[in-house]
């Protein structure tokens, strides 16, 4: 632990959240020396996943600390509260509590026996889904980082119609199998989806609706209310005000990701989204990045409007560039005042996490123990909420329990109040989830987004501040943020080129063009090869001659 670190790095990264981990990996990948530290004793910062025990203490530690204390590392998360809705029953929970006819094996969940399984939980602070053909999946594949991660295809995209939770038929298979649509409706839905996909080739089909809303267009093609609901709210994740262009773009994004993995367009990382930043950290480490948790920067020395070196533990470390993650802050670092920020802000998310003993929706949405289901809810103001239900198949909770995550735009400092209208929608469905435990908190914007000033230009030219999670389903904005920072530091270099496979790696002094010796294993064949060698050489000469003649013949033919 007390081992000395090297004293000079190309890049020092503080915080192990999503954005900063990508920057660290990208820098390490192009051969830069990287020191990646985190004041926390866990990876991921605002993007982390916790087991239930760690989650409880994490939430309590925030709830107990004053919100204004900026020395706290956790200031990216605030307004935290937690409550258990079940207590240890005073009477024996046993058999007599089970109503007649119910299966005796069905477990009665108490606070105690939920907590006993705390290790089986991986609860995300910032849960997200990946579009199967989205930016992150592309990045994971192109950079060859995907081999560090495992995913589960989301089972159902759901919606609530008239108080019923239903699966949205989004793929061809779903449309074929659903009993909710008549065959004419099926045809109309498929036709709509096809024409949305062909928007760029046949814009004339949409000409009359160019400056109208997507909803007006949907109504014009004689769709029934059921289909309009599914397409508008679930597939395009739009609302009544969304323009035709945006509605179609969203629909296309959804459809483009269909049919790649599983039955829906979404993937969820097994064991929680906290795995994703760690995949990038692993790549960074493979290329020589050095990792230290529970290390923070205690001092910085500044020269020529640059950070020259940092104090980490009792070492002074020179750094050419410094990247600071969401929820971290350098000592004596003043937050520039004023401004409302340019473009979209990160953070500003009200979050709720529920542990429930029953899933949302009927059996067919949760076959054989529950699915990983996604639900987009809308409200009058527009942005709506993302609801994610996770069953034990996702590796984030024990069997028989479910995690339900709700994220919405923060409207106040009271996340519970922000979430309430959405929770009420879930609770008034035909199969409401039975909540055992709930957590509420707010994810704040990063320093840069809060202050609105461009820190890099105004203060220190080699310090870069990363955004926190944005209110988006996938990671698109965060990837842009990471790539933008990387490009500012290393404008000439490629952002995360493909990482080599193990067989491409040269070990020790091995000849880089040597071929594995086990290609031929049989002595008799080896013998035969020796015999062939001589004859073969001759043959090759002849072949070359032949091909030369053929080439000439072709040239003549063309003339």
């Amino acid at each position: 632990m007390d081992e000395d670190l090297p004293t000079e790095f190309d890049l020092v990264v503080v915080g192990t959240g999503f954005v900063e981990s990508i920057v660290a990996a990208a820098a390490s990948r192009i051969g830069k020396t990287v020191l990646h530290i985190d004041p926390n004793d866990f990876y991921g910062g605002t993007w982390a996943s916790f087991n239930l025990d760690a989650l409880q203490s994490f939430i309590s530690s925030i709830a107990e600390s004053p919100a204004t204390d900026e020395s706290k590392q956790f200031n990216s998360i605030k307004n935290a509260s937690q409550i258990w809705h079940v207590t240890t029953p005073t009477a024996t929970p046993a058999d007599d509590a089970i109503p007649e006819g119910q299966e005796a094996t069905e477990k009665i969940w108490t606070k105690e026996n939920v907590l006993k399984e705390f290790r089986r939980f991986n609860v995300d602070l910032s849960p997200k889904l990946l579009f199967s053909c989205g930016k992150l999946v592309k990045l994971l594949i192109s950079s060859n980082i995907c081999r560090y991660a495992e995913f589960r295809a989301v089972d159902h995209v759901c919606t609530i119609i008239n108080g019923q939770t239903r699966s949205v038929p989004c793929s061809r298979t779903d449309v074929f199998n659903t009993k909710d649509l008549s065959i004419v409706e099926k045809r109309l839905l498929m036709k709509l989806l096809t024409s949305c996909m062909g928007y760029d080739e046949h814009p004339e089909e949409f000409k009359d609706y160019e400056d109208k809303t997507f909803l007006e267009y949907l109504k014009s093609v004689k769709l029934t209310d059921n289909i309009i609901h599914c397409v508008l709210y679930s597939i395009s994740m739009s609302n009544e005000q969304t323009s035709l262009k945006d509605g179609i773009d969203n629909t296309k994004k959804f459809l483009n990701s269909l049919g790649r993995y599983g039955n829906t367009p979404f993937l969820f990382p097994m064991y929680g989204c906290g795995e994703i930043p760690q995949c990038f950290c692993r790549l960074c480490a493979v290329f020589g990045g050095i990792y230290c948790l529970k290390r923070s920067v205690s001092n910085v020395s500044i020269a020529d409007a640059k950070v020259d070196s940092i104090k980490c533990g009792n070492q002074d470390i020179k750094a050419s560039n410094i990247v600071v993650g969401h929820g971290n802050i350098l000592p004596d670092f003043s937050i520039p005042a004023g401004g409302t920020g340019v473009g979209k802000k990160c953070g500003g998310i009200s979050r709720a996490i529920y542990i429930t003993s029953s899933p949302l929706g009927a059996e067919e949405l949760n076959s054989s123990g529950g699915g990983v289901n996604f639900l987009k809810l809308t409200d009058e103001s527009g942005t709506g909420a993302f609801v994610l239900q996770l069953s034990h198949y996702s590796g984030t909770c024990p069997k028989g329990l479910y995690l339900i995550h709700i994220s919405c735009s923060a409207k106040s400092n009271n996340p519970e109040a922000d979430i309430k209208p959405y929770l009420d929608k879930l609770l008034t469905t035909d199969h409401p989830p039975a909540i055992l435990y709930s957590i509420y908190f707010t994810i704040d914007a990063c320093l840069r987004c809060t202050s609105g000033a461009s820190i890099t230009n105004d203060s220190l030219s080699n310090v870069f501040v990363c955004c926190g999670p944005s209110f988006e389903l996938d990671y698109d904005e965060s990837i842009d943020n990471a790539e933008g920072i990387f490009k500012k530091i290393y404008p000439e270099d490629e952002f995360l080129p493909r990482a080599p496979d193990p067989e491409e790696i040269v070990i020790g002094d091995e000849d880089p063009v040597s071929v594995a010796d086990d290609v031929i294993t049989l002595d008799s064949v080896k013998e035969q090869i020796m015999e062939l060698e001589a004859g073969l050489l001759h043959q090759e000469d002849c072949m070359e001659e032949n091909s030369r003649n053929e080439e000439m013949a072709m040239e003549v033919g063309e003339e």
Partner: protein, 528 residues
């Protein structure tokens, strides 16, 4: 660069790949050389198994090597007891599985598996069914595996119900699956045979369900043809059943025609009125055909000698079944004809379902009047519901389709010709008089169907249609025709009109012959 990764450059990698490739080629050649040398010397031993194995595991498509392995195994098994024999076969079974990992669509590897299981002492068929499940999970459209599945399922005696359930699951997962629909069409007749008619593949109630399912698939993705083919099968638009079409025997010529092309020389013919037909004397109407729909014998027949209540012509065909037809006596011999089965006649419940489906199609046509597949389905449904009643309307839809979907214009024109001919032919057969003309004029015919049923007719009028040279060979069947009116069509080559022995009048005016051709035609006509 301590602790840093060293990675091959792309040039180094390419050089390495090239070198590897060269070694592979060398090994392959050496291996093959060794194999043939050993085979020549009769050395079917362990080493042979090893070398063939090495090559096959990289490229499982070398048929020869699979066959050499079979020789090896048979020879090695000779001296072994049952248990040792089984383990020898099991080992090779494991090997084919390894090869299927490399190429799950290797004909050689799948076939070798069949061979092993049929030759080994104690085959485990259940295990094979499980293997199929595994491979079809990886690729539900691997028809090699579906094929193999049907083979092992029969051996494992898996109940057809289970297989149907499996098929249904696969279709629910992805209905774009010819193999699964096909298997379905084989299983349903076993499980749900038709209540009364053996000619109909499945029961009315099951048919209703199936129609519903397949239309759902077709409406979901009309561009997927697999569902359409299955729908055709359900509606009975598959190949016609084998049967006698028409018979005519006159003083010097006899003709026998059939619903499908057959080889009459392999059939046995029997009559109850003393006519014996030597199989060798039958000639196909289209010279050189091995299979043909119509066959003739030129001979002199004694007519009018017998006087029976019934004249029966019986033919035992290659399927081993007897097909019979009652002949009528007429002034110059005998004749008989059967009306072709154009469509199934459905029960009330199925008709109800078909009507609902037609209603759905019409509803859709309101939104999408030019939807080609809806138009086609609608016209097929109309014919299944009431062929005669919807005759004009279904032809109208086809005409519309010719315009909308002009790339398949020929297909629609042929289909329309078929339906138009069906109507005329049905009426002609019903009236039953040979001397009445078959009047197919002014029908926009692009081609001729059911020519074998017209083989006994005296007058065929094809005036004012769109027939062209490609259909002229169909005239071969008109062996008893005396008056053929093919005027005002699109024929352009005089030579294509075949020789018809009884022909007295041939009208070809208003076709597209050149002047030169017309002269030659006139010469030809003089010879009539």
């Amino acid at each position: 660069m301590h602790g840093r990764l060293k990675v091959r450059t792309s040039a180094e990698e390419a050089a390495r790949k090239k070198k590897e490739q060269e070694i592979k080629v060398k090994t392959y050649r050496a291996g093959m050389g060794r194999i043939f040398e050993k085979r020549k010397n009769g050395q079917l031993d362990d080493e042979m198994m090893q070398i063939t194995g090495q090559i096959l595991s990289r490229n499982p498509d070398v048929y020869t090597l699979w066959n050499i392995r079979k020789e090896c195994i048979l020879k090695m098994a000779e001296s072994l007891g049952n248990e040792a024999k089984q383990s020898l076969y099991d080992k090779d079974l494991g090997f084919t599985e390894q090869c299927l990992m490399v190429n799950p669509k290797s004909y050689g590897a799948w076939h070798h598996r069949c061979w092993i299981l049929e030759n080994c002492p104690t085959p485990d068929w259940e295990r094979e069914v499980a293997l199929c499940n595994k491979y079809l999970k990886l690729d539900e459209r691997n028809f090699h595996c579906w094929d193999y599945r049907r083979f092992v399922v029969k051996k494992a005696k898996v109940p057809a119900e289970d297989e149907l359930k499996y098929c249904t699951e696969k279709i629910h997962k992805n209905f774009s699956n010819y193999s699964s629909w096909h298997y379905r069409s084989k299983l349903l007749p076993l499980l749900f045979p038709h209540e009364t008619s053996p000619a109909r593949p499945i029961s009315e109630s099951k048919l209703k369900e199936e129609l519903e399912m397949v239309l759902t698939a077709a409406f979901t993705d009309p561009n997927d043809s697999s569902a359409w083919f299955y729908q055709r099968w359900l509606l009975g638009y598959s190949q016609p059943a084998l049967d006698i079409a028409a018979i005519r025997i006159s003083k010097n010529l006899a003709i026998a025609s059939f619903s499908k092309p057959i080889d009459l020389r392999t059939c046995e013919i029997e009559t109850n009125f003393g006519f014996n037909f030597n199989p060798d004397r039958w000639q196909p109407v289209q010279k050189g055909n091995k299979y043909d729909v119509a066959w003739i014998v030129e001979d002199s027949f004694e007519l009018g000698a017998s006087d029976l209540q019934q004249y029966i012509f019986k033919c035992r065909m290659s399927d081993g079944k007897d097909y019979a037809i009652n002949l009528k006596k007429c002034s110059d011999g005998f004749y008989g004809m059967k009306c072709p089965k154009f469509e199934y006649e459905f029960g009330a419940a199925v008709i109800e379902e078909l009507k609902n489906q037609l209603e759905s199609c019409n509803q859709l046509l309101e939104y999408e009047p030019d939807s080609k597949w809806t138009l086609l389905t609608a016209s097929l449904l109309m014919r299944a519901i009431d062929r005669r009643g919807y005759h004009t309307k279904s032809l109208e839809y086809l005409q519309k389709l010719e315009k909308i979907d002009y790339l398949r214009q020929g297909y629609y024109a042929d289909l329309a010709s078929k339906w138009a001919i069906e109507k005329v032919l049905e009426e002609w057969i019903e009236q039953g008089d040979l001397t009445v003309a078959i009047d197919l004029s002014n029908l926009n015919l692009a081609t001729i169907f059911y020519e074998q049923y017209m083989s006994i007719a005296k007058i065929v009028i094809l005036r004012n249609n769109c027939l062209s040279d490609r259909t002229a060979t169909k005239f071969n069947a008109f062996q008893f025709c005396e008056n053929l009116d093919a005027s005002y069509n699109q024929f352009s080559t005089p030579g294509v009109i075949p020789h018809i022995p009884n022909l007295k009048v041939l009208s070809l005016e208003g076709n597209k012959f050149s002047n030169n051709a017309t002269t030659r035609l006139e010469d030809q006509m003089k010879n009539l």
